[in-house]
């Protein structure tokens, strides 16, 4: 092997991720490298730094800077009823099954700023399930959890969300669930009465609870295959018998080795049902 072929930036990136893990306990070493490099290069530009090594120095010696870095590596693009056809299918194919349970536990992993937590809660409410459902909404980023807890969003987004809601098979109007003020909207607190927002890191933390539904959409795409299978293992161990797993529409169990443990409820929209007791 010719060591000179290793790109200097790749060496720097490797060292940075190790330093961050040792210093702060957050492990990004198995994130998609293209994703990391894009986000980190943006940070270099924003903070006027010349190299990843400089960023590493700053991160090691300036603890207050770390929260920017954490924000940079968070997955923070989300919307209410994202992929409405997924929610429509969820309503049709998963809800009837959940209705047979006296109590339902849901783990929404990587919930970010919470738009999809409210989406899910609205569906459960419309299906008369919300009162007997416990939702754990988790993320590793405490900042986004705070936003999720507040349930305040920009009014500008609401036209799109109203349309998504209708396409997702909503039975009323989305605007019935929020009040508007000064360009913002505040979602009805009764929606999150049974939601616990909690700090949980998929990479370094263990099984959260035994649940009937794991909801984790567009998070796994940011991980490499090794980490994907580790997290899928965590989900398998968290799911009760015949529990459901909902992934993002471009995420799949196909290349992971886990497809044998699940049957597809909706193959196209990535809704799966656990078929085995253990992994």
């Amino acid at each position: 092997m010719n060591l000179n072929n290793i790109d200097t930036q790749d060496i720097e990136l490797d060292l940075l991720l190790r330093a961050v893990y040792m210093k702060y306990g957050y492990d990004f070493r198995n994130y998609s490298k293209a994703h990391l490099k894009r986000r980190i290069n943006q940070r270099l530009m924003l903070s006027d730094l010349n190299s990843i090594s400089e960023l590493q120095h700053k991160l090691l010696w300036d603890k207050s800077f770390f929260r920017f870095f954490l924000q940079d590596l968070s997955i923070n693009v989300t919307e209410m009823f994202r992929d409405p056809e997924f929610y429509a299918s969820f309503r049709k194919k998963v809800i009837p099954d959940l209705k047979t349970y006296p109590h339902i536990k849901v783990w929404h992993a990587g919930c970010s700023t919470g738009e999809e937590v409210y989406s899910l809660a609205i569906i459960f409410k419309e299906e008369n399930l919300l009162n007997r459902t416990q939702i754990y909404a988790t993320d590793f980023n405490k900042g986004v959890l705070e936003t999720a807890k507040q349930g305040i969003y920009n009014k500008k987004e609401m036209d799109l969300y109203e349309q998504n809601y209708a396409d997702a098979g909503g039975t009323g109007k989305l605007k019935d669930y929020y009040t508007s003020k000064y360009g913002s909207v505040l979602f009805d607190k009764s929606l999150t009465k049974n939601v616990v927002f909690a700090d949980h890191n998929l990479v370094t933390d263990g099984v959260f609870a035994e649940v009937n539904l794991v909801f984790c959409r567009n998070v796994l795409i940011y991980f490499d295959k090794t980490l994907q299978s580790k997290v899928l293992d965590l989900f398998s161990n968290s799911l009760a018998k015949r529990g459901f797993l909902c992934l993002g529409t471009k995420e799949s169990l196909k290349f992971t080795g886990y497809d044998e443990n699940y049957s597809a409820v909706d193959k196209k929209l990535k809704i799966y049902k656990k078929t085995q007791l253990t992994k």
Partner: protein
């Protein structure tokens, strides 16, 4: 040796891509990744046409799918397409870049990191600013770059921007691009 060809196109891109893929000989098997700005509903019918009328297996890229010869992978609507170091495609729902998701710059830049000089980047017709930065990154990393000549482009702006920004290795009429790809990858 070129390991993957990455192509970006916007307005007028369907015809341009079809022209190129149909002109490539069967012996040309280098994997291709493509970002085409196109309406969400049109892509699947376009891909089935290409599948039927070219020598290649043409499909939407799947998450963590390996880059394969004889295969052309398109970015799915509303996702960025990235190339990883280990010769797999990955997808991302990150913010739009140049008002676009998928963005050509994202594919090109990640390809430049993953492939260095083993990358061929081709920017075709379009009427926005996407792709110029990414093509520059491919060139800086030692890769080879082609831009469709503005005169043969349905929309000139995108090729013109790229030509200005990065002095591509080749500026070619649409009909000559396939032959040059064969020559470069030989």
């Amino acid at each position: 040796m070129i390991k993957t060809v990455v192509i970006g196109a916007s307005y007028g891109g369907m015809d341009a891509i079809k022209t190129i893929l149909q002109a490539l000989p069967k012996s040309f098997t280098v994997p291709m990744g493509i970002v085409l700005h196109i309406g969400n509903n049109k892509i699947s019918s376009f891909l089935s046409i290409l599948n039927a009328q070219t020598n290649y297996s043409v499909k939407e890229a799947e998450e963590k799918e390996s880059v394969k010869s004889n295969t052309v992978c398109f970015a799915p609507p509303n996702y960025h397409l990235q190339l990883e170091d280990n010769a797999t495609f990955s997808l991302s729902t990150d913010k739009k870049v140049n008002f676009s998701r998928p963005s050509i710059d994202v594919l090109f830049e990640t390809a430049s990191w993953a492939l260095k000089e083993e990358c061929l980047g081709i920017l075709l017709t379009g009427s926005n600013n996407d792709g110029a930065y990414g093509l520059e990154q491919i060139k800086k990393a030692g890769g080879t770059t082609i831009v469709q000549s503005p005169e043969t482009s349905a929309a000139k702006l995108m090729p013109e921007n790229a030509i200005k920004k990065c002095q591509p290795d080749f500026i070619l009429d649409l009909k000559d691009i396939a032959a040059k790809m064969v020559e470069i990858c030989a």
